[in-house]
Symmetry: C2
Subunit: 143 residues, 2 copies
DNA sequence: ATACTTGCAAATGATTTGCCAGTGT
DNA sequence: ACACTGGCAAATCATTTGCAAGTAT
């Protein structure tokens, strides 16, 4: 019922910076930890824990993603009713309720909207954990 | 991975209108169906299927909520990682990533934000299925 | 009478936990 | 060495499904 806690912005520019971050915290750079990070840095598209495990143990992957998320190296988003998607990027998301398509959005494109929300509600909004859900132009026109 | 399909706006003003809607569609007004609707109309706060079942079989409640949602009589929202919350109301939601608090918002209060989103992304946004997530004033000031 | 519905048990999907053996530092 | 990790099995939580028996219309 409660949301994930507020995490600082992601700011490890590359794999090495991320690994260094782990060491700083006294955490270990284990084989599977490195594999998860390598996969995420290699292809920045958000992916499920299952996909990241790629045949190996999913439980460890979930544990690692949790740790990495606490360190602010990884983030996850829920784009619908399926499994959560993990990524190293600072994107925000929109998804269409009609056709199911989703897009990653550069945060600055939402600054006007964020300002309007701040004005209306006093909240500093971020669409990183849940997307903005709506109808895309096509689905809006045809529904 | 796909989102719930677009549903028409909720517009059954009261319990009787809702029951009538069921009959119109050739569906039956069964005891447990009536119980779910009575509970939802009696207290408009969003509730879990478990709470609505209130000791009786949850599977039936889920089945009924599905049907009612297809008819546009009920809607559900995901406010965090817990179970979905069902309600008969047309509210939109904001929730704070810091303290976990959430609020139901009158749709018109978000019209400016909606306009900004339409302008920026071409999407007609609705915050009924996922809330706007952000930091409330207090958490923003203290984080 | 005949669909539609329920209740209960069992299945499924996503994620978490316990535990002990393995391994980075 | 020692604490941190991984693998695997089992547990948990939310939700769905199968099926025989019950009931609105």
């Amino acid at each position: 019922m409660t949301l994930a806690h507020h995490v600082p912005p992601l700011d490890a520019p590359d794999l090495d910076a991320a690994l260094e971050r782990l060491r700083e915290k006294g955490l270990r750079v284990s084989a599977s930890r490195r594999l998860v990070l390598e996969a995420l840095y290699a292809d920045r598209r958000p992916r499920t824990a299952e996909q990241l495990a790629n045949g190996t143990d999913v439980a460890s992957v979930y544990r690692n993603l949790d740790t990495l998320e606490e360190l602010g190296l990884v983030r996850h988003v829920h784009l619908g009713h399926g499994p959560g998607l993990y990524s190293i990027d600072e994107y925000e998301f929109v998804s269409c309720d009609g056709c199911g398509a989703y897009e990653a959005i550069e945060p600055q494109r939402l600054d006007e909207a964020r300002a309007a929300i701040l004005q209306a509600l006093g909240y500093h909004a971020r669409f990183t954990h849940f997307p903005i859900v709506g109808l895309c132009e096509y689905c809006h026109a045809h529904s």
